[in-house]
């Protein structure tokens, strides 16, 4: 039965202390959308907005949704390699 399922879109979904990063695993364009949460909410609440419906048409390479910035949320991606380098910043 699973063999009949067609994947619509695949994501790498990472939850950091102060940040949620959703990266489509395919897509020809390279854009980053930085989405800032509203008062009283956190990034995880908003993630679903980008993972269903028309949002799936967005050809983004990276989508960062931020929690409150009371800590340094940057260290995890500081060494992220340039796009197209063939490296994964996770490695």
């Amino acid at each position: 039965m699973d063999a009949d399922k067609k994947i619509k879109k695949e994501f790498r979904f990472q939850v950091f202390e102060n940040e949620v990063i959703i990266e489509p695993l395919s897509g020809k364009h390279e854009l980053t959308i930085i989405w800032l949460h509203h008062l009283y909410r956190n990034a995880a609440d908003l993630s679903i907005f980008f993972m269903h419906g028309v949002s799936l048409e967005l050809e983004v390479s990276s989508l960062s949704i931020y929690l409150f910035l009371t800590h340094n949320p940057f260290s995890e991606r500081q060494n992220r390699p340039p796009s197209g380098s063939g490296e994964s910043y996770l490695s």
């Binding site: 364009h29 390279e30 854009l31 980053t32 959308i33 930085i34 989405w35 800032l36 949460h37 509203h38 008062l39 009283y40 909410r41 956190n42 908003l46 907005f49 419906g53 028309v54 949002s55 048409e57 967005l58 050809e59 390479s61 990276s62 960062s64 931020y66 929690l67 409150f68 910035l69 009371t70 949320p73 940057f74 991606r77 500081q78 992220r80 340039p82 796009s83 197209g84």
Partner: protein, 178 residues
Amino acid sequence: MRVISADNNQKLVPSWFDVMRRSFDRPHEEIINAKDLKESSADIQKIIDREVKFLNGDGRKVFLGGFAQGSAMALTAGLESKEKLGGIFAVHGYYLSLTEINEANKETPVLVLLGKKPPFRPWDKPDGFYPMFEKTFEGLKTIKSVNTMVEVVDQDVYYNQEFIQKKLVQFVKSSSKL
């Protein structure tokens, strides 16, 4: 995390800046904590820098967006950015006159969506917040060359995700010429 003064309790909540009053009847520096705003703007600039580096130095591939306080923050951080951005998408939010617009983003496309239909939460005003929010953009719209479109829509922008998604996709595609 910070306490929101206007809420009259000591609860720490996720926020970009403290809010002292929930109205715009005074200068903005008396309504929100300007220091918080500037600190958050500087933090977001670091994120923008990181992403621009990732995108081989092209800031026009970076879009900044948000909802309510997040949209006010996106407008400030985006317009203050030294990197020329692809666009700023603000939903159900307001513009803070404390924003110091950087020359690099004077012509950056900005789309603001305000909903006429209130989201029917207990604390909402009968007409929703849009008239109050819309007024905050008057100054911004008078600045020559600022490419800001404020669209008041007959929608509940709080719960109508499908509508917002469509607008976002249209905005990103038209601004980035995909």
